[in-house]
Symmetry: C2
Amino acid sequence: MSLYLALDFGGTKLAAGLVEAATGAVLARVRRPSPGDAWRSIEEMVDMARQALAEGRRARSDVAGVGVSFGGPVDEARQRVRLSHHVPGWENLPLVQEVSRALALPTAMDNDANVQALGEWRFGAGRGVADLLFVNVGTGIGGGVIVGGRLHRGRHGLAGEVGHTVVKPDGPPCTCGKRGCVESLAAGPGIARAARDALRESGRGGKLRALAGGDPAAVTGELVFRAAADGDELALAALADACRYLGIGIANAAAIVDPELIVVGGGVAKAGELFFGPLREAARAHAAPLDREMLRIVPGALGDDANILGAAALAEQENRRT
Amino acid sequence: MSLYLALDFGGTKLAAGLVEAATGAVLARVRRPSPGDAWRSIEEMVDMARQALAEGRRARSDVAGVGVSFGGPVDEARQRVRLSHHVPGWENLPLVQEVSRALALPTAMDNDANVQALGEWRFGAGRGVADLLFVNVGTGIGGGVIVGGRLHRGRHGLAGEVGHTVVKPDGPPCTCGKRGCVESLAAGPGIARAARDALRESGRGGKLRALAGGDPAAVTGELVFRAAADGDELALAALADACRYLGIGIANAAAIVDPELIVVGGGVAKAGELFFGPLREAARAHAAPLDREMLRIVPGALGDDANILGAAALAEQENRRT
């Protein structure tokens, strides 16, 4: 039996999936907006899990276990949520216990970046790799580390946090309270801020300005990518800067882990060479000399199913352990 | 049987020891300057190993194996030296084969930073810790990572290289060819260079200037530590700057590994609070918020025996595996 229910609690969206682990096939997907409250999110998710079973024409007794991806830190034994940066009411909530009780199935949980790392390693771009560094780039920057074919969580479940490594001391403020973290320089909001500042200071960036309806305040990370794809020089410069700092962060993490492969997932995984070209160049320029030629950086392969497939991989791993 | 021969090939010195692994006792030590040539170093070392056996009143047949610490990169299967940055003739030399043939004992090798990490974990400040980050600060800055009670070498044997992570883009040039590596800012020569530059630019630093015989060019990292211990403000500022960048490098590495403990060895391990006070403060200030209170940084406990005890720990580990 290799069927798993995969539940993804995101900041704004909930998703449930029914996954056949042997093939990596997603037999059913259910997505809904988050109701914006912890307990109501759990109720909604349990209902979505039942709907996924019904859509996949399977019974609960066909399922070996449940994997949960949570969009925020979970405690070291991975039984409780620590907090959500987006939704109130999650503090210290015993989510594993609640889900396993409601669905009467063994349940395992981890934060979304660790889950995605596991998913890319089991089903995606990192199949067959022993040591893997995974980085997710989106609104924030998260990461996960596979060592010797196992997810390395670290002492407090916080390993792989490439986004909060400091690569520009005295740089821009980060959501975490520090300055010059990779996330503050290379995630969507950081790219947008840098491009907005540049637009206000120069007459260039006509295509980006037009995309933003003439209002620099309306610039988003996504618009910077679109303008860069259209050849806008100001947008390309903002993107190159972001890639430079992300490249330093990745090269630094690679100097610690010395991975076989680096997988970069999240929205940027779809951006192609526009993003991966400058990123690879920056990472190699800042890698240790012996690492330089060996640094392999590839886009994540799981797209929108990364959390669902990762949660299924987590459930499968826990199932095998018991 | 828990007796091991431990051989340490350093850039300028050779050391051999006879170690009882059950207790961590060094039964005999032999030290000689390096003859400055690869093959002559091996001959010399084999002679030193025999002398250590004689001094410890043991026969070769009492010994379970040999551990070799090499002061430079070794290849991924750890059979060959890649190169020495100090001594010519080491390129691609099959050191494990030569030593095991000459001494007729099973032999294991690793680079000195990995060996020291293993030594601190087995016999020193990191005993009983599952996940450990080790950093050696001296003329250069090396490091090693223990994950789940095992040395994590990484894909190319290059894991744990905290010294060559970049923490100040466009900073001073590093021996590795990059700029702004931790090593360029926080190892002995980097501290000395910063203090020399400050001496030339200001009238302060009277105690440091006196220690250097009035000649800024004569300032060394060690003199900066001595002047700082004597309250010299310029030396204290240079040391604080070095601790800041080393602290960022350690906090960044901790964000990737999430270790239970960070051990800092090398010459600075003896410097006490003068060094560890500012280092802890800098590392905590740059750690991820959830890590901040949990970051534990302690001095290495093995002193001058770090390489010998580490090499014995390596030999013991290999012996148990077979």
